[in-house]
Symmetry: C2
Subunit: 315 residues, 2 copies
Amino acid sequence: MKCRICKEKAVIKIRRHNLPLCRKHFIERFESETRRVIKRYKMFTRNDKIAVAVSGGKDSLSLLYCLNKLGYNVTGIYINLGIFKENYSANSQEYVIKFKEKFNLPVIIYDIKENQGKGIEDLLKRGRGEKPCSVCGMVKRYLMNRLAIEEGCNVVATGHNLDDEASRLFGNIIYWQEEHIEHQFPVLPEENGLLKKVKPFTFFTEKETSLYAILNGIPYIRDECPYSIGAKTIKYKEILNKLENDSPGTKYRFLKGFYEFKNKVKIENLRSFKGTKNCKKCGMPTTREICTFCMAFENHPFIKSVQNISISEKE
Amino acid sequence: MKCRICKEKAVIKIRRHNLPLCRKHFIERFESETRRVIKRYKMFTRNDKIAVAVSGGKDSLSLLYCLNKLGYNVTGIYINLGIFKENYSANSQEYVIKFKEKFNLPVIIYDIKENQGKGIEDLLKRGRGEKPCSVCGMVKRYLMNRLAIEEGCNVVATGHNLDDEASRLFGNIIYWQEEHIEHQFPVLPEENGLLKKVKPFTFFTEKETSLYAILNGIPYIRDECPYSIGAKTIKYKEILNKLENDSPGTKYRFLKGFYEFKNKVKIENLRSFKGTKNCKKCGMPTTREICTFCMAFENHPFIKSVQNISISEKE
């Protein structure tokens, strides 16, 4: 199999375009596509300061690497969640440190157990049987936003890829989760204390982001979080992979078609879960008196310096 | 397993309600649910004359039987499509005749090959590799509408069940087929020469409609059309059955959620395939000079008596 452009040995075939590419041309295309998506969805410019949420995995580390290479002002933020099962947090942190040292890129490391007194596993133990992924998601969304504000960033970028987004969409649509359908888009604007959120890799498959990481010598953790086993998104990924296999391009068309559809429909009277109040403890937007994050960590000190923060402080 | 209502032996458990029912209470519930859906979606009243599209299968024959029992003014219309493979059309017609004689209900039998000079297989042979189901669907939609008008009916009812509608929705959404998404609803209003179309069984599973047919001694063809093998809708049904199995009620929530979502969104600027012209040969709505049906049967006589029909003629 030879590269369509230069006839050198191909390292991948982009199946939905039936396009074989060599190392050099794959990387070139990957980076120009990333820039195109950033511009197309008005994600950010070189004047913005971007917090890249890194987990130690292929997607987020590739994103930090790629955005830096494209000349954007980036800072990685890694949250050690305190997952001791299978040594998961410690292992992923190790990869982040390796990455940071190898490429000499700024990455903040925040240890939740050290700073908040509790890790994810403590929350799960004391919880009421909540699903691990939903607790973890809440904690990550909250902290990433606050830490990014603390770092003076005005955008949060995450490494979600096509497989993530398509399976998430699949789950939202099978059950018509209106609020989530409304909030699924490659870019979500800043509002009421929540920074703008963007997903520049939304149209790359898992295979493409892994290959980009490998070709650039990015060290990353291969293991999945031990708590994600049996998660519905994994089941949905399997279904989508089967459909993709029968008909290449299915995942892309499913997600892209949804974004286009969303632009054409006007959604009215949907249930909303946007916070209209501000948490009495930390000042972040919430639908109740005390936000879910503060409730979960009750009786523990909050992130220092970000108490009573308001939107103007980060501008 | 005992009936939740009378403690007699149950014949089915409605999984999404975890509700076991005996023969009598299943039939009662099936019929009252049918009536409820008809009223909820304002499908028709006892003053309407309803054409029920019958195929010889469990769904359509059950629908004709059930609507008649509920006191509606119904006429069955059966189209012999000229499918000679596996003797499919002849077999299905036989079941329709058995049904008609057993219950003494009015059913019109229309033989497409006799009246139009060509059957589906002739169209496929001379076609340009169109998919059988799409040619057949076009012919059935067209003829059912015209024959219903000829019979003086003002509504066309079809036996589509939850499995059909959920898998159709699945296919439309995986590829965001806007026109089809816009047109998928339990009731479509009359417009420009197309009668009102309704699907009273839209929330019953295949299992429920089969059981209703069996319990009422309705003879029906068990075979699937030989041309539907490998159809995508069958693949989608398998996926939905798997999800349903893991989580009972998934299909219902998926379809019902979609109908509710549709009521909340305003769809703007969607591509439309509604006919704005009238076919120069048969007068039916079309997007071109000559409609697809007439194109397919070119050089063959059209249905007598319905030439140049206009909306007012059927009122």
